[in-house]
Point group: C2
Chain length 419, copies 2
C-alpha cells in the first residue's frame, strides 16, 4: 500500500524549519509495512495545497497531510482542502465545545480566532475531538486522507495513536512483511563498509543502504516479502553475515545511540563514570544525561574549559599546563585521573583538544585531540587528528570518547589504538 | 523565478534520516530571492526519480536535485536521469583523473566502484571536477538542473559556492527583492504573540508566519516586491512596529541563538560566566561552548549530577542536601555561589530540577526546576514548573537559565520573575 506524505508550511519551503514531522511519519509508516511513494513539502498557498492533494490522490493509496491547521492567519489548509475537494467547511461541534470549555485558560486570544480550529471540510471525522488542536480524517475517492497538526509532538502522538491503527484496518492485503535493521557503525569509512559487505554476496532480495550520519555510518538491511516466514529467514541469515564482517565496528542497532550502549554496559557492570571535558565543553555529559536513569552510572564531572579550572577542580599542575600545553597527552591523563579521584568514580574520561576555528599550530593543528581513560588499574591516552569544522570536531571527539569507554567495557585494558 | 527541490534517498523515505539538505537549500535559495515551488523527497528508485524530474521541469524554472550520486550500489540518480532525459552516461575525464590520482589514499575500494562517480549524463558540466564527489549541472528544455551529493557538508559547500552564483546570472529579471527577518521569542506563548501582532494592523503585503520551535516561538516577517525601495521601506517600518509590541521577549533575530546573544552581552561587558548543572547535565555548557571564541567569557563549570559532586566540587553542605533536598531553592543558590567562588567567575549560574521520567513527588512534581544566579552583589533564585518530557524539560531549563543571564546583563539586578 503506497502512502504519500504532504507537509505544509512557509516555514518549511523557506528552509527556516527542518521538516522533522515527515521523517517521523515516514519512519513509522515504513516500519508498519507501508511503502512511502513520495514526501512533498509546499508552502501555505491554497492553490498548491489543492494541486498536491489531487496529485497524491491520483497516485497513492492513502495520504497524510501535516501542517496549516492552527489558529493563526497563515494556517490555510482547511480552506484549501475544502476548495480542492469541493467540501464546504462546517463546524465540528465536539471540537467547538472543547474550545469553549477551555476559554478561561486562554483569555488573551479572541474566541473567533480559536473557533477557526473547529471548522473542517465536510465529511471530516475528528481524530481527537477532546483536544483544541484536532487532526481529522477524510475518505475521498475511497482513499483515506489524514490531516495532522504540524507541531511535532502533537503530530507524533496522533500518528501513533490514531492514524496507524486506522490504517491497519484499511486494505490489509496490501501490506508486506517488513524486517529492517540499522547497523550503527563508528570508526570505519563508508567505502570500507561497502567493500566488506560486497564480499558477502547477499541474496538480491536483501536491500542494503549506506548512510553517513556524521560521525557515524549507518547501514540498513531491509527484507520485504508477502510471506512472513521467507522474509524472517532471509533477514536473520543476512544480519548474521553482516555481524561477521563488521565485528565491533558495529556499536549498536536501530535507534540505540552510543550513549545508550555505554550506559547499558556501565549499568551491567555496576561501574560509575565521571568526565572532564575541555574542547567538548559539556557535550559528553549532556549526551550521557539525555538517557533516563543515567544517574545510576554517571556521577557528573567538570567542564574545564579554562585552564584555571583544570588546575582548581582536577588538580592538573600549573607546571604541566605550561610545559606540555593544555592540549597534550600529559594533561589529558591528569584530567582523567583527577576527575576519577575527585568524584570517586570507577572510570574517568577526559578530552582536551583544538576544536577551532582558531588555536591551531604547526605542531598541534586544528583537530588535534587527546582522549584519556583512567581506571583503578591503569590509564591510557589516545591521540587523534579529526578533520572537519568546530562542530564536527566536538561531535566526533565526544563520540570517540564514548566509544573508547565502550571498548574498555567490552575488552578490558588498553581499548584505544594509536593513530 | 520558481525552483523545485528534489531529494533522493531510501534513507529519507524510510524516515531514518531527517532531510536537512533540502531545508538548507530552501533557506539559501529563498534568501537569495527565489521562490521555492515545492520540495520533493523520493526513494532511490529510477522510475520515481525520472517522474519527479520531469514534473519539476514542467512546472518550475530551475531544479535542484540532491542525493544518489555516490559510489555505493544504491546510488542510482545518474542512471535514472540518463534514462528520463534520454542522455546516455559518459565518463567525465577530469573527474576520472581526480579519482585515479587519489587511488593510493583509498586502496580498499575497487577502482571500478569509484569510477562510477565519473559517469555523468551527456551534456553534464561538473561543478567541482577536482573533487571525487562532483556535483554537476545540466541545461535541459532551457532550464538549469543542478545535481548535488546528498552528504550535507558537500552539498552545502557546492550550493553556496557554485549553484547560487550560477543561478544569479540566469534570468535575473525573475527575482524579487526579498527582505526577511525572523524574530526569536522566548517566554511568550504563540497565541499571545499572534494577539499582539494582530493589534498592529500591518500592511497586507507583509507576510507574517508563526513557528513554535520548542521552547521558542519564531515569528517571520517577509516583504517581497519587484521594487527594492518599496520592499525596504515597508520592511523597516514593520520591524519597528513588531519590536514595539514584543519588547524584550524578542531575544534575538534571524539565526542568532540564545547562547550567541548571551555570549555577545558577556563579551561586551567583559564578564565571565561559570555554570553548575544538575538536571541539564552539561547541556548549558555544551550550548555555550558551541560558539567559537566562547573561551573569552566562559570558564566552564561543574556537572553536579550526583549529590556527592554538589558537595565535593561546589561546597553544598550535606546538611542542606538532606534538609531541603537536591531540588530546592537553597541548593540552587548554594550551587551558583559555589561555582562562582570556586572558578573565580563574575557570574555563577546553577540549575537543579526534576527532568523525569522518574523522581517526581506531590510536593515537587516532574518539571520542578530552580535556577539561581550568583553575582558579586547579590543572588537570585527562580522557581519554574515546566511541562513536557525529559528532553523538553532539559531544553527549556537550559534556555531559561541563559535567558535569566541575558536579562541580568540587560537590566541588572533581579532578572527573574517568580511564577
Amino acid at each position: 500500500m503506497k502512502i504519500e506524505i504532504i507537509a505544509i508550511g512557509d516555514e518549511l519551503t523557506s528552509g527556516r524549519i527542518i521538516n522533522t514531522t515527515s521523517s517521523f511519519a515516514a519512519r513509522n509508516l515504513f516500519e508498519a509495512g507501508y511503502e512511502i511513494y513520495a514526501m512533498n513539502t509546499i508552502g501555505d498557498t491554497p492553490a498548491l495545497i489543492g494541486e498536491a492533494l489531487k496529485q497524491a490522490l491520483n497516485r497513492a493509496d492513502a495520504v497524510l497531510v501535516t501542517g496549516g491547521l492552527g489558529s493563526t492567519d497563515d494556517d490555510l489548509t482547511n480552506e484549501a482542502v475544502s476548495k480542492a475537494l469541493n467540501r464546504p467547511t462546517l463546524p465540528n461541534l465536539e471540537i467547538l465545545s472543547t474550545i469553549r470549555c477551555h476559554l478561561d485558560e486562554i483569555t488573551s486570544t479572541p474566541v473567533s480566532r480559536l473557533e477557526k480550529l473547529a471548522w473542517l471540510p465536510s465529511g471530516a471525522t475528528a481524530l481527537n475531538p477532546g483536544s483544541r488542536m484536532a487532526g481529522y480524517q477524510l475518505i475521498h475517492d475511497d482513499k483515506p486522507i489524514f490531516f495532522l497538526p504540524g507541531i511535532p509532538s502533537q503530530m507524533q502522538q496522533l500518528l501513533v495513536e490514531e492514524v496507524l491503527p486506522k490504517l491497519s484496518t484499511w486494505h490489509k492485503e496490501h501490506r508486506l512483511a517488513t524486517y529492517q535493521r540499522v547497523f550503527r557503525i563508528f570508526n570505519l569509512p563508508e567505502t570500507e563498509v561497502n567493500r566488506r559487505i560486497a564480499t558477502l554476496d547477499l541474496n538480491p532480495d536483501v536491500q542494503i543502504g549506506y548512510y553517513p550520519v556524521y560521525p557515524e555510518v549507518h547501514l540498513s538491511l531491509t527484507v520485504r516479502d508477502k510471506k512472513t516466514n521467507n522474509a524472517r529467514r532471509l533477514f536473520k541469515s543476512s544480519c548474521k553475515a553482516i555481524d561477521t564482517v563488521l565485528g565491533d565496528a558495529i556499536y549498536g542497532c536501530d535507534r540505540e545511540s552510543m550513549e545508550q550502549v555505554v550506559g547499558r554496559l556501565l549499568g551491567d557492570k555496576g561501574l560509575r563514570l565521571a568526565v572532564a571535558e575541555s574542547c567538548t565543553g559539556g557535550l559528553i555529559a549532556a549526551k550521557i544525561t539525555e538517557m533516563p536513569g543515567s544517574s545510576v552510572y554517571f556521577l557528573g564531572g567538570v567542564v574545564a574549559y579554562d585552564n584555571s579550572l583544570k588546575s582548581h577542580f582536577l588538580g592538573v599542575s600549573a607546571h604541566l599546563l605550561t610545559s606540555c600545553g593544555a592540549v597534550s597527552r600529559e594533561v589529558a591523563e591528569a584530567m582523567a585521573v583527577g576527575v576519577r579521584k575527585q568524584s570517586s568514580a570507577d572510570i574517568g574520561l577526559a578530552v582536551t583538544g583544538i576544536a577551532g576555528p582558531g588555536g591551531g599550530s604547526e605542531e598541534k593543528p586544528l583537530g588535534t585531540v587527546y582522549i584519556a581513560i583512567a581506571t583503578a588499574e591503569e590509564n591510557w591516552v589516545s591521540k587523534f587528528h579529526f578533520p572537519g569544522d568546530r562542530q564536527q570536531v566536538r561531535e566526533i571527539t565526544a563520540q570517540s570518547g564514548l566509544d573508547l569507554v565502550r571498548k574498555y567495557l567490552l575488552q578490558g585494558l588498553n581499548p584505544g589504538k594509536e593513530d
